[in-house]
Assembly symmetry: C2
Homo-oligomer: 273 residues x 2
Amino acid sequence: METFFSFLEKRVDDSSSLLCVGLDPHVSDLPSPTAASALTFSLNLVKQTARYAAAFKPNAAFFEVFGAEGWTALKQVIEAIREESDRMGSRIPIILDAKRGDISSTAEAYAQSAFESLGVDCITLNPYLGKDSIAPFLGYDERGVFLLCKTSNPGSGDLQDVKLETGEALHIHVAKLAQTWNTRNNIGLVVGATHPQVMENVRTAAPSLWFLAPGVGAQGGELKAALKAGLRADGKGVLLPMSRAISRAENPGKAAADIRDEILHITRELKSR
Amino acid sequence: METFFSFLEKRVDDSSSLLCVGLDPHVSDLPSPTAASALTFSLNLVKQTARYAAAFKPNAAFFEVFGAEGWTALKQVIEAIREESDRMGSRIPIILDAKRGDISSTAEAYAQSAFESLGVDCITLNPYLGKDSIAPFLGYDERGVFLLCKTSNPGSGDLQDVKLETGEALHIHVAKLAQTWNTRNNIGLVVGATHPQVMENVRTAAPSLWFLAPGVGAQGGELKAALKAGLRADGKGVLLPMSRAISRAENPGKAAADIRDEILHITRELKSR
């Protein structure tokens, strides 16, 4: 049986890419504040960037804001990624950025919503409610989750950096829990790429997990610091989500290709050391 | 200007109730697994229980699982609560149980989705991403949030009970933060009613905040322990959400009335001591 992360790694190999293309149809980036506009925006990005994407990451909030029509658009975007995958002969993992987190039958409903109704491969989850809130998602074969560990926003320290009596920060506790819980190769971590030292610490706490590492720009220096801090010994383990650096570029396809190549260049350089 | 919690307190007075009727159209409780069934289930509950409800709490997951149709049903349920409110001449607060949590423009989109697209009065949020993830919701006048503090599930201890270097548990840290952040009377806490001692500790840490306290049955003993631990000196401050104790009763209207009365009885008893 294929696990989510073996599936992701196959696509990483097929595409020579660690780039995760974010599909964030924020209303300020749309010609009109409608679900139809969000759909066009997203389909256009999918078409132009699929070749260079190790994964796609639609963000639920920017569809949900349009109510039922937004939900229909999200479903259509997911179907379009499947079609593009078929065309290329290489299936692209879809990570729903939804940051859900609830318990028992409610968690089951969210898992069903993501993995069955929408049909995505992976979802971002909030770990605050503990292992049993994650369990219903882990019950799905070949699907995966990324647990929030250390986010890139200024307020992330309010909880995530709080020092425990063991002397470690809460986000390190979460990283260690996730490493322990990952018995079926279907748990990764969201670790902001903005602080390479933090990422290095999380890598020590969770040596084998994949990181979804947002917050880094397309600039070479930032990219290099993040990859150096987060990559595993096998040169994998970090997925870099980028949204506006691509969607706002004059030519999103070329922007995605350039970022993919830059990441590849840095990864090879780091490996050859 | 009215704040969310002054609005809630007005309704608590109007209804002599601390009962929050949960609208959880779980698929196992529906005659068929469809959005139409979820809608009928919810509308029926609203109609039968509105007189006794201090608030309604629809759970997003059980609608989201039906995709776009579920989202439409949720919107219709919210409208039906507004109509019922108009009929009674007393507006009933609607708390969307969604446990969202994200940053910057994504948090803004979730706030817009809840408060504008759906038009609810309040939402449950996850505090793991810190104050700036809450801020976009607090910017709405007359709306409120309940932050997850200590949940009622077995795994809640994985993070929420972790001891900090100050010696206090993480959920106490969250309670204190929420008390500090609550400068506009629009922040409450989700505190499981299953452990009265925990609730008492959270009450000490957050003396003035409203608690949304799930997990307690309709039994008198459990109710009394929870209310004793959580009520403020003014005999308010605890909202008790109940779902299946009402929806699975032969007569949901009577069940809601009985629970409302039992809570009222206990509250008066505790006050007279």
